[in-house]
């Protein structure tokens, strides 16, 4: 590992912040979803980096489970988006406020 770990962690933090900005600012639900994927990937990079630093393979195992959950989350989320689009003809998350009190 020629590049020291804090550089990887810094890259991961910046990617996470980009995802955060995307979730908070964008209103197209598809782009919000992609931003969530961005944040998951940033966390994966952190896990792999720490696993490498500590010389343990556990970080990579955790990344595999994150991958599984991310895949399922994308499948279910996109199915819900398609359903919402069918019934309301919108992908703007501000338009889906049925549960607002």
């Amino acid at each position: 590992m020629s590049v020291p770990a804090p550089f990887y962690l810094g890259l991961s933090a910046l990617l996470f912040v980009l995802g955060m900005i995307g979730v908070l600012v964008r209103r197209s639900v598809l782009i919000v979803f992609m931003s969530i994927e961005l944040m998951l990937n940033a966390v994966n990079l952190t896990l792999v980096t720490f696993g490498r630093t500590l010389g343990s393979v556990d970080g990579q195992i955790l990344v595999i489970f994150v991958l599984v959950v991310a895949a399922v989350e994308v499948v279910i989320g996109l199915a819900i988006i398609v359903d919402i689009f069918r019934s309301r003809d919108t992908v703007d998350i501000d338009d889906v406020d049925l549960l607002r009190g």
């Binding site: 955060m20 490498r52 595999i64 199915a79 398609v82 003809d89 992908v91």
Partner: protein, 179 residues
């Protein structure tokens, strides 16, 4: 090498949140994912790098692009509604978070293994993170979580089928009748 991939990943990340059209965002996301796969290789996580390319870049991005095409023709983002956090405030809060995290990373103890861990002794260490290592851990110590992950996948499949089924209109005959 790390500099190149980091720059590409950050450029892709900005692209994801800045592009007007979802297709462009999906392609920018692909750029991020491939750059991160190279980073995983640099970190001796070969199996994770392969999984990243196959699952994320292969399956998830394709699914995104598929859905974008399915929803083609939807209108772009209209003027913002009042209920959400105003965008400049949201960006400012996120940047504050970034400053906090980077301040921790720039601290004196950042990225160093705690005392007492064996650590990795550079190039002299035995091959680390090979598929053999990961497989042995996955099917040994982590066998139960591995099986639980298969249940999660099964639930995902069932949920997607249930959600994707076109619901009959309320006054239609019960399922089983002609659609």
């Amino acid at each position: 090498m790390f500099g190149i991939t980091a720059a590409l990943a950050l450029a892709g990340g900005v692209g994801v949140i800045a592009c007007r059209r979802p297709v462009h965002s999906a392609l920018a996301l692909l750029l991020v994912l491939l750059s991160l796969a190279v980073d995983y290789l640099l970190l001796d996580a070969q199996f994770i790098a392969v999984l990243q390319v196959i699952i994320y870049a292969g399956a998830i991005v394709v699914l995104f692009i598929f859905i974008v095409m399915l929803l083609a023709g939807h209108r772009g983002e209209g003027p913002g509604a009042g209920a959400r956090l105003p965008a400049p405030l949201a960006v400012a809060l996120c940047l504050l978070f970034a400053v906090g995290v980077l301040a921790v990373l720039a601290g004196p103890r950042a990225g160093r293994p705690p005392a007492g861990t064996p650590g990795v002794a550079g190039a002299a260490a035995p091959p680390f993170g090979t598929i053999q290592d990961v497989g042995r851990a996955l099917f040994g110590r982590y066998l139960l979580p591995f099986e639980a992950a298969s249940v999660v996948l099964l639930v995902g499949v069932i949920g997607a089928v249930a959600l994707g089924k076109r619901l009959p209109p309320p006054d239609a005959p019960a399922p089983g009748g002609p659609r």
